[in-house]
């Protein structure tokens, strides 16, 4: 293998990443212009609303936490070759489970918080299993089934907040707030940052080791990259995919549960504005590895926090924080695909 060839292997992702960053910046500027704001001022607003003040930084970290769990869920699934587009639904299932289990009478607060966290992870994993079964047994593409399960999870939340879990004292369809003792307490006063953030960072390190330094990780990646080789080596590739899908769902479920326990304290409808899809974007922008996904989650969370400030100060709608990641993903995927083709001998 020549040095130039090896160099280009690294160069293509680097160029693609820079291209995605440039496209994201251009998209921000164009959207600001479309909303009648000055692009330079808008960028400054974004920074101010995301990292430049103490409060803004806290908001960014609070938003990054559930996104990071979802992005890790996307990484695990994508690496195993399971296209889990259902993180959104698994997030909702986890949030619903935490809201339902959290107030269970008779448990001491710490045990209730623990039970709610476990229930959230379990609910997320359960919510993906029909898709796994359909994919392995009925050949239904998981892209389709997980998307449909998202819609079902949405109606589950609608039912819970209007029906069995509805707060009888409130006017809005939302659940009774969890008792304060059950909620995770902020690590830093004034920030909505709880133990969930360090837990997510520990997970990033654990998953990195697991994926790249253990046999289990090798098997998981092989299930995605060459399932036939895996099967030929005597591994049940279907079982590996199912396990990875369940782990992915559990991570998204945890994201939802910890959001209820650490941030909102209750479930309402709609509870998510597309965090599952954003998690997939973060995973892709982070080169589908845990550390990259963590970096991208922080960046997208900063964008979300900054966009809130931008909407308040300059009237640029906050949905900029959905459009910009989408544009970045599209440019990244295209540049990577283009690079792969250019590299291949014709």
């Amino acid at each position: 293998m020549s040095g130039a060839r090896r160099g280009s292997r690294l160069a293509i992702p680097a160029v693609a990443g820079l291209g995605a960053l440039a496209a994201a910046t251009a998209a921000i500027a164009l959207l600001a212009l479309a909303a009648g704001a000055e692009p330079g001022a808008a960028l400054l607003d974004l920074l101010r609303g995301s990292v430049l003040t103490r409060g803004a930084l806290g908001e960014t970290l609070a938003r990054a936490t559930p996104l990071l769990f979802c992005a890790l869920g996307a990484v695990v699934a994508l690496r195993a070759g399971f296209l889990n587009v259902g993180l959104e639904g698994q997030f909702l299932a986890g949030a619903a489970a935490a809201a339902a289990v959290g107030p269970v009478a008779g448990l001491p607060p710490l045990a209730a918080a623990f039970a709610a966290t476990i229930a959230a992870a379990a609910a997320g994993a359960l919510w993906v299993l029909p898709a796994s079964w359909l994919a392995e047994r009925r050949r239904v593409p998981e892209v389709l089934s997980t998307i449909l399960l998202n819609l079902l999870a949405g109606s589950l939340v609608t039912w819970l907040v209007r029906g069995p879990l509805r707060d009888p004292s409130g006017d809005y369809p939302q659940t009774t707030p969890l008792p304060d003792a059950v909620l995770l307490s902020p690590l830093v006063s004034g920030w909505r940052v709880t133990v969930a953030l360090p837990a997510a960072l520990v997970l990033v390190a654990t998953l990195t080791l697991l994926l790249y330094r253990t046999r289990a990780g090798l098997v998981l990646r092989a299930a995605g990259e060459s399932p036939r080789a895996l099967r030929a080596a005597g591994w049940p590739d279907a079982a590996v995919r199912v396990a990875a899908a369940a782990a992915s769902g559990a991570l998204a479920g945890l994201a939802g549960g910890l959001e209820v326990l650490g941030s909102t304290g209750r479930l309402y409808d709609p509870f998510s504005g597309g965090i599952g899809y954003l998690g997939i974007a973060a995973a892709l922008l982070g080169a589908t590895n845990p550390l990259g996904a963590a970096t991208a989650s922080l960046a997208l969370a900063a964008l979300g926090a900054g966009a809130g400030a931008l909407q308040r100060n300059s009237g640029v709608p906050a949905s900029l924080a959905q459009v910009v990641p989408a544009v970045a993903v599209l440019v990244l995927l295209s540049l990577l695909a283009f690079g792969r083709r250019a590299e291949r001998p014709a």
């Binding site: 239904v140 089934s145 399960l149 819609l151 079902l152 899809y277 599209l330």
Partner: protein, 287 residues
């Protein structure tokens, strides 16, 4: 919406229209799982033009035009540049939801006042001409695939793209054309929805119909004529929700009717998927 049958037809029409476009794109070998995003962009364009011109026909055209643009842009990324169409489609869901919400916020801030749209006039069965068109289109597509050379070549792009290339034809050009068509009818479906069903735009107004349309295509096993019963099943289930909401009293919770269409769609694809019918080169990059 008057009777239950009219309601079922009216709610099935956008679903059927969007599914027709998706079927053509998938038969050509690509797929747009972000059809929900396309529909939202079409719905928003129709809303914006409908408010400004008070002409539902112009609004419908605007929806189709926005969808056409969306389909062409999708083809640039997922067909010409050969990025994974499923991942591109996932980003499209974000793009359409975010883009339409962005535009809506700007517009709502600018106009104020009524945001009620004038509907397209009904011509038969409570359906406007575009709604009837949705029920005619599968027949047209059936004839297109069955009797025309263009239809044959398009299907070949989804079954054996190398053979099409060997004929000296461009798979990229054919799939891009299919994507433009899918986008245009998907956008028109979004327009039809806001003009005649919801009568206004809200964020996420399509409420998952783009995703349901994907399931309709699988349930119909990529056969144009089978789209009609498949769309009627799923659309009829959503009509139940509107009917019972209008009636005011129902023994079942409202959320049950929200869950019914995706549940039916899930059951339907579970029953039909293993029976095959998918184009052999579906989702594979052009040679």
């Amino acid at each position: 919406m008057s009777g239950p049958i009219e309601a079922a037809l009216l709610l099935s029409a956008p679903l059927l229209l969007a599914a027709c476009g998706e079927l053509v794109l998938e038969r050509a070998g690509s797929l747009q799982v972000g059809l929900e995003g396309t529909m939202l962009l079409g719905a928003f364009a129709a809303f914006a033009v409908g408010l400004r011109t008070a002409s539902p026909e112009a609004a419908l055209l605007a929806g189709a035009a926005a969808g056409l643009g969306s389909g062409l842009l999708f083809a640039v990324f997922a067909v010409a540049l050969r990025a994974d169409p499923i991942l591109v489609g996932t980003a499209w869901t974000l793009l359409g939801a975010g883009g339409s919400a962005f535009g809506y916020r700007l517009l709502a801030g600018a106009t104020g006042g009524s945001t009620q749209l004038l509907p397209l006039p009904a011509v038969a069965f409570g359906l406007p001409l575009a709604g009837l068109g949705a029920f005619v289109l599968p027949v047209v597509l059936f004839a297109f695939f069955r009797f025309t050379r263009a239809g044959l070549v398009l299907s070949a792009c989804g079954e054996r793209p190398e053979a099409v290339r060997a004929l000296g034809l461009s798979v990229v050009a054919i799939r891009s054309t299919a994507s433009a068509f899918a986008g245009a009818v998907g956008g028109a479906a979004g327009a039809l929805l806001v003009l005649n069903v919801t009568r206004t735009f809200v964020e996420g107004v399509t409420a998952g119909r783009g995703f349901l349309a994907l399931a309709v295509v699988v349930f119909a096993r990529w056969k144009p004529l089978s789209l009609v019963p498949a769309a009627l099943l799923v659309g009829g289930a959503s009509a139940l929700q509107y009917q019972l909401q209008a009636a005011g009293r129902s023994p079942l919770p409202y959320a049950f009717f929200l869950a019914l269409p995706p549940l039916l769609a899930l059951a339907a694809v579970a029953l039909s998927s293993s029976r095959g019918g998918a184009p052999a080169a579906l989702g594979k990059p052009a040679p």
